[in-house]
Symmetry: C2
Subunit: 283 residues, 2 copies
């Protein structure tokens, strides 16, 4: 039995940073909450809850003295609301997301119709677009959406940090038909494409592919979809408890990767259990 | 016999404007020259020579008191040279080319590495890039050229006015891999794509396609190439004298278009001769 573990599996820079900030802050005080889950890993959020970090969904419901802003960021409106309360704010927004928020604000200030390539429902996207306060905004998920963009004098284009470059390229190309000026900031985080590339490589070599990460994590879900295209025998799991012995029957090679919000200890538990089932060590 | 004449055949806005300016200027004075041919039509240039407009290739060779700047524009260096002479300057640069020159200058001033999508040898391209005096410039003709672009902090992308949108889109998409910021001004003139689209439509319907225009005209040559892809029986001709009777043997439908620098009277002469050969009227 051969086990291939992706080098890029697990926490990205922004998630690692946010998680560290949250655990550090929790160690120092008890009156603390996070606005929305810090990262899209129910297991990490649970561990933080054990340390006293409660998740609060709306600013008006905060009763604690300290609030942590999650890695995906929050909206400009929520930021204003927080500022009007006498709270201590720990901003764990991923620096790459913050950069996208800043581009949204400055493109909008400069009169560009903002096109954000991403998923309209994702909290990161809702946060970013809220910073474009001075000009129209359109969230575009697919080239078909881009075809429907109105003609306008200047378009500013940015992306959700976890977008695929190919989709972004296609949409930018279509924007050239809609406006004489198209100003693009490529806000895609390389970690996503590196992780996806490695997952593709591994999935194409193995008989079973395991993708570990929150069922509420968009990047993990996309990772599982990508793997499934190359290896239909792909399983998306959150923890080692989700593993089923039947998966390993007649299988001689297994690939393992994990989303950006999956902690190292969860990956290790899965790897150990897989090794036990298969009676082998991972590479 | 059916003859289809393209509605978009012949002079574009910029060429018509330059030619009118040249004939008007020639009527008023005799000490006049143009720096390079006004437009890429040897027949129009000859007519202007009859009116006294001589073609001079280098600023240092100008002996006349008045100089006309051709529709394709000239380089920033030539403009400086002209300004240092006590000459009257008639600027017949196409306003769309001038706009591209201005974008080249301002993008370069703002520190963008300029990417000009076009043919490096074309006088319009040589003119435009010369205005980018403050940052590096690369002329890119194909996606393969774009792959070789260096990584840099910000790229400014513009196009030769007669470029195809498809090539421009592909190159812009590749630029997104080379820089975090890509600022694009779509300087392609719609007249070119409208003309090419109509030529494609007609060429796909006829048994013989005629493309009229200077052999030194890049846009006419490209038009002939586009037509040949759809109808291998395509002829590129400059004047009615180039027509050969053998072309019409066994042919029941003929399409006619002309480049942006082909005057209406040249098109009319060709149409008349084709009608004579085929014994029919054009549509």
């Amino acid at each position: 039995m051969k086990i291939l573990l992706a080098k890029s599996a697990g926490f990205c820079f922004g998630v690692k940073r946010a998680t560290n900030m949250a655990f550090e802050a929790a160690g120092g005080c008890r009156h603390i909450c996070s606005l929305g889950p810090i990262i899209h890993s129910p297991q990490v959020v649970e561990k933080l809850a054990d340390e006293g970090v409660q998740v609060v969904d709306r600013v008006e419901d905060i009763t604690q003295d300290n609030v942590i802003i999650r890695s995906h960021g929050i909206t400009a409106g929520e930021l204003d609301q927080l500022a009007s309360k006498s709270l201590s704010i720990i901003d764990a927004t991923c620096p790459f997301v913050k950069k996208a928020q800043q581009h949204a604000a400055s493109l909008s200030r400069d009169g560009y119709h903002l096109v954000l390539v991403g998923e309209a429902e994702h909290p990161e996207v809702q946060g970013i677009v809220s910073f474009a306060r001075s000009a129209p905004v359109t969230v575009v998920a697919t080239p078909e959406d881009a075809e429907k963009l109105p003609r306008c004098s200047k378009l500013g284009v940015i992306a959700q940090t976890t977008q695929s470059l190919g989709n972004f390229q296609q949409i930018v190309a279509l924007c050239l038909r809609k406006s004489k000026e198209v100003r693009v900031f490529n806000t895609i985080c390389d970690a996503t494409s590196v992780r996806q590339e490695e997952a593709r490589e591994i999935a194409s070599k193995v008989e079973l592919m395991l993708v570990i990460g929150g069922f509420n994590s968009a990047n993990t879900t996309r990772l599982a979809v990508i793997c499934k295209e190359l290896q239909p025998n792909t399983q998306h799991l959150e923890t080692a408890d989700d593993i089923e012995p039947a998966w390993f029957e007649g299988i001689s090679s297994i690939g393992i990767t994990a989303g950006a919000s999956t902690p190292a200890w969860l990956i290790e538990q899965v790897v150990k259990k897989v090794e036990r089932f298969s009676g082998t060590d991972s590479e």
